[in-house]
């Protein structure tokens, strides 16, 4: 069986030409091959959302996605693009300001999912925020601060004229 296959992945706007094994998930390749450990693994079965990344702007669980299948797509992670991403940074500032980060393990997934939510709905209602986060578990905060952080990020970004 041919093991290593060449793939070209675009992550945060940067192209990586690498050789991977076809049975590796996108999560494994991001963390282990590319050394981008911001994206976390917890359940490994689509339940918790810590492994969330964006593929072509849409939130997906990278633990349930083969890396070979992410070729030709735009992958965005919590690390963000080298030139910076004001929206991603504002969301993180709001999470810190509102006490939405305790142990922090769920935070990268929450932040990335929020990035996608706010690009679709600039000022989501509380219901829309909670609906967008059903696939994310947080064992620490009780979610209230997370909802507040997202509302704060949305209003800060709206006042700055968005991204």
């Amino acid at each position: 069986m041919n093991d290593l296959i060449p793939v070209s992945l675009r992550v945060n706007g940067v192209r990586y030409d690498i050789a991977i094994r076809p049975w590796r998930t996108l999560l494994e390749v991001l963390r282990e091959t590319l050394g981008m450990t911001g994206t976390k693994r917890s359940c490994g079965e689509g339940q918790c959302g810590t492994c969330t990344v964006l593929i072509d702007g849409k939130a997906v669980n990278s633990c349930l996605y083969l890396a070979v299948e992410a070729q030709g797509k735009e992958i965005s992670t919590i690390e963000g693009p080298p030139e910076g991403d004001p929206a991603l940074e504002q969301i993180q500032r709001s999470f810190v300001a509102k006490g939405a980060v305790q142990c922090g393990f769920c935070t990268p997934g929450m932040v990335v999912a929020t990035r996608s939510l706010l690009s679709e709905i600039a000022e989501p209602s509380e219901d829309e925020i909670r609906e967008a986060l059903v696939g994310h578990l947080c064992r620490c905060t009780g979610y209230v601060q997370i909802v507040e952080a997202i509302q704060d990020a949305a209003s800060q970004l709206a006042h700055k004229g968005g991204d």
Binding site: G46, N61, L64, G135
Partner: protein, 303 residues
């Protein structure tokens, strides 16, 4: 600990057309080859070593299977690779097949719906799959494709037993087709589950009512169940109970009782069989009532 396990080794193929897929699976067996649509269940099956295929054929590149379109006869055609997100966002689905939108919205969260496909939900043959009962009550037919050609069959004939479909090893589910919505028709999907839409369905009921406006009776009623039996199924005796009758408490009671008699829910750590029967009884009544009310209010709203 399953969740820490890596996937078993396999060779990966990424065809770009249905003809290529058919060529790749011709003459192979399901033990050696696995189709991967969204992968949201397929990857877990491999991680748990329930399936250890030698070769995985990824369908994400097969663009011709990703479509939702209105048909000339007023019906709907859905490609097997349509994601639940695409289905939810489709204007024609929202306008004319509200039951499908309502059902897809109850499956998983954004992260799941952005990749999970309609075809994968059906072809996985899980008794707890939510799209299958909704599609069955809408009268869905499915198209299976292989190198030998295409064949169509009613979705209700697709699941012969737990976890299996009647598709041969060289057949791919390509398309789902729905007849035009009936005049006076409306449906509701109700499911019971632990953690919002993120947990597997304990019991799900799809009720589709066609209300006869003049006689104010059930012109037609279709009922299908997730986790009511080892496969998704239609409860045809329960349907017959109400046809031609008006909506009454006794009628609902009788239909729900008949649906329980037709069901054979299993006992698992999620819920025991008796509890599931209680759910079937309660959800059947609510689903029929809600579908009836939707159908009535639509008829009244019409100019």
């Amino acid at each position: 600990m399953t969740y820490l396990k890596r996937l078993p080794r396999f060779e990966y193929l990424g065809p770009q057309s249905l003809a290529e897929v058919c060529g790749m699976i011709a003459g192979t067996s399901r033990d050696e080859v696995m189709l991967l649509a969204g992968g949201t269940d397929a990857i877990l099956q491999m991680r748990r070593r329930e399936r250890v295929p030698r070769r995985v054929i990824g369908l994400k590149g097969v663009a011709e299977l990703d479509f939702v379109r209105e048909q000339a006869d007023g019906g709907l055609a859905i490609g097997a690779m349509t994601t639940l997100r695409t289905l939810l966002a489709s204007p024609v689905v929202g306008r004319r097949y509200d039951l499908l939108r309502e059902t897809a919205a109850q499956i998983g969260g954004n992260e799941l719906r952005n990749v999970a496909t309609v075809g994968g939900n059906i072809a996985g043959a899980l008794p707890c799959a939510d799209m299958s009962p909704a599609l069955m009550t809408l009268g869905a037919r499915i198209r299976l494709s292989s190198g030998r050609g295409d064949r169509w069959l009613p979705l209700e004939e697709f699941f012969p037993e737990f976890g299996r479909t009647v598709a041969a090893d060289d057949e791919v589910l390509a398309e789902i087709s729905l007849p035009p919505p009936a005049s006076g028709g409306a449906g509701t999907y109700l499911k019971f589950h632990d953690r919002h839409s993120m947990d597997m369905t304990v019991v799900g009921v799809s009720a589709y009512v066609v209300r006869d406006e003049r006689s104010r009776t059930f012109g037609d009623l279709r009922l299908a169940y997730a986790n009511g039996a080892p496969t998704v199924f239609r409860a045809k005796r329960a349907e017959a109970v109400l046809r031609g009758r008006a909506l009454t408490e006794e009628g609902l009671e009788e239909a729900a009782e008949t649906a329980c008699a037709e069901s054979s829910p299993r006992t698992s750590w999620r819920a025991n069989g008796e509890y599931r029967l209680e759910l079937i009884r309660a959800l059947t009544k609510s689903a029929i009532r809600q579908a009836w009310e939707k159908a009535s209010s639509r008829q009244e709203a019409r100019p």
